[in-house]
């Protein structure tokens, strides 16, 4: 399996791919949230959504959909939904009752511009619109039961079996000593499930069969958890690009993997997860799997980090 990297088309231009997808997603989002009445409410929805972050999750979703032969146009509604849901999470995270951040990506956070009440309403509106995006997908190629399944997949990832559950546990363990199994619960629910669901729902609407869905789920579990470990590690030793440690988690006294088991152990666990992910991906056609493989590749070499 360690040779597998070599069988991938070397010429795949991951940066171009990411830039292209991000551009297409941004365009789709711009159309998905028009400035309807009431205008300020819709402005609040758009403010944090466009332009947003790196569109990592939604690009993963498009890649997984295309992997099983789905078209980008089929994946785009789902990708928009995923961006709406993940934006909703970051908006709420900045609220005074959570991290109380006045800035996000250099500009005032949503509630600083629109007030907390409007921000919370905008979040619910984004949430509803996200589901509507999936359900109303303008294509005849996806059956209702697949759309329903994709909605359940995403709902489970953000609700009482996912993100919200993880965050509630995170809050209720504040100021307490967190055990490794509790941290696993939090990481799995707060981070891993959303990555997993983004990938799996892509395969579902792309027309993947049960085996493909299952493989992608296993792949998603590994990549999702590795992604959270990567963030935990970067918080301590800095990212490869900036070489600057953010240390935010430490400042907030948050439980992280490095804090509980040390940096080396954390790196090893992440590597293990990524190796397992590669195994799962090996099930698919290498040429079609190239985008996914390259997309998560930035995490592979933890040793490059610092």
């Amino acid at each position: 399996n360690s040779q597998r990297n070599d069988t991938l088309p070397k010429l795949f231009q991951v940066d171009e791919y990411k830039a292209l997808k991000a551009k297409q997603i941004n365009k789709a989002l711009d159309e998905a949230v028009p400035l309807r009445h009431p205008a300020i409410l819709h402005e609040a929805m758009r403010y944090s959504l466009i332009p947003g972050g790196k569109r990592f999750m939604s690009t993963l979703c498009i890649a997984s959909c295309e992997l099983v032969g789905g078209s980008e146009s089929v994946a785009m509604s789902l990708a928009c939904a995923i961006e709406m849901l993940s934006t909703m999470g970051t908006i709420q995270d900045d609220l005074p009752c959570f991290d109380n951040d006045d800035l996000r990506r250099g500009k005032p956070s949503n509630h600083k511009v629109f007030g907390e009440a409007t921000t919370i309403l905008a979040c619910q509106a984004l949430h509803c619109l996200a589901v509507e995006q999936i359900a109303m997908m303008k294509t005849k190629n996806v059956s209702p039961d697949r759309l329903l399944r994709a909605i359940v997949e995403m709902s489970s990832a953000i609700g009482s079996e996912g993100l919200a559950a993880g965050q509630i546990m995170d809050i209720s363990s504040e100021g307490k000593d967190v055990s490794l199994s509790e941290l696993n619960f939090i990481h799995r629910h707060k981070s891993e499930k959303f990555v997993e669901a983004s990938l799996v729902s892509g395969v579902i609407i792309g027309g993947g069969n049960e085996e493909e869905i299952e493989r992608m789920r296993n792949y998603g579990k590994c990549v999702g958890m590795a992604y959270q470990l990567w963030n935990d590690i970067v918080d301590v030793i800095g990212s490869p690009e900036t070489k600057e440690t953010t240390g935010r988690d430490m400042l907030r006294g948050k439980a992280t993997y490095p804090k509980l088991v040390g940096i080396d152990e954390s790196k090893n666990y992440a590597k293990e997860l990524l190796a397992k992910a590669k195994q799962e991906l090996a099930y698919f056609d290498p040429a079609k799997a190239a985008p996914l493989d390259h997309l998560v590749n930035f995490m592979v070499s933890f040793d490059n980090v610092n």
């Binding site: 709420q92 907390e116 409007t118 619910q124 509803c128 589901v131 329903l148 609700g159 919200a164 809050i171």
Partner: protein
């Protein structure tokens, strides 16, 4: 003196039984499991949120178009769960203002800190959707209807429905009389827009969803949607104690008019239209009295 059961009593016990069946479904669908920290707050708010009539309308509409109760009961439960999210939002104490909508009543003590309550609300919409999806039969051949109901519900709860109503309410409470004069808008107009979007949309959605799930025709779905809209409007006016009584009477007349134009079985129609009858709603306590 024992008397034969009057029509009015029959209608009462119909609505009571629907209400209780939805409650029973919620009881078994929303359980406290491990970790308790997550599921206890969720169960608390599902059962602490005040009832509205959208869920019972959903079941009644389903039965009226010839569907079975079990086809609509899960959707009705989901409607209540989603409404519970709005209830949390409305009562959330925010740091830049006391509650989302200051003029609403601080009807309860807060069981949890604001961050937990907000997260519980976040979990409600997906939970409602999961619940709804679970009512799909194993063959999956009902997926089309369920998907349509999901669109109905997310639209009703979103920026063109309940959220818009809440946003209006918020604006209403923030601007003072001078602002209103400046914008040439009256308090009553503002409020009218609010319950049109909030209670009106939600109850319209409830009735329409029931009709969809029960297999009603497009004409039946739209007729019941309109009926639900009137019921919601009346509830909106009554619960705010605003707006003139004549308006309520006007809405009731409109609602009854729907009965005349409909093609439903007469006895079944009698039951659902009893919801805008004073005697029934007073006893049911749904605030339409």
């Amino acid at each position: 003196v024992t008397m034969a059961m009057s029509t009015s009593n029959k209608n009462k016990s119909y609505w009571t039984s629907v209400h209780e069946d939805i409650g029973a479904h919620l009881r078994q669908a929303v359980v406290v499991k491990e970790p308790v920290e997550v599921y206890e707050p969720m169960r608390h708010f599902v059962f602490a949120a005040p009832v509205n009539m959208a869920p019972v309308l959903c079941v009644a509409a389903c039965e009226l178009v010839g569907g079975h109760r079990e086809q609509a009961i899960v959707a009705a439960a989901a409607l209540h769960v989603m409404h519970a999210a709005s209830f949390i939002h409305e009562n959330l104490p925010l740091s830049d203002r006391t509650s989302l909508i200051p003029k609403s009543k601080p009807t309860m003590y807060h069981a949890f800190k604001p961050n937990t309550e907000l997260l519980v609300a976040d979990a409600m919409l997906p939970f409602g959707l999961e619940l709804l999806a679970s009512s799909d039969n194993p063959a999956g051949n009902n997926s089309g209807r369920i998907l349509r109901v999901m669109v109905e519900m997310t639209r009703a709860m979103g920026s063109q429905g309940v959220v818009e109503g809440q946003y209006n309410e918020l604006q209403c409470s923030q601007c003072d009389d001078d602002d209103r004069k400046l914008n040439g808008i009256t308090d009553v107009e503002m409020t009218y827009e609010t319950y049109k979007k909030k209670e009106g949309r939600l109850h319209a959605c409830g009735a329409a969803c029931g009709a969809i799930l029960g297999g009603g025709s497009e004409k039946e779905i739209e007729l019941l949607r309109r009926y639900g809209f009137y019921v919601g409007m009346i509830q909106g006016i009554v619960s705010r104690r605003l707006g003139p009584t004549e308006e309520i009477e006007e809405l009731k007349k409109l609602a009854f008019k729907l009965r005349e134009v409909n093609s439903f079985n007469d006895e079944n129609a009698e039951v659902i239209f009893s919801l805008v009858d004073d005697n029934i709603t007073h006893v049911l306590g749904f605030n339409l009295g």
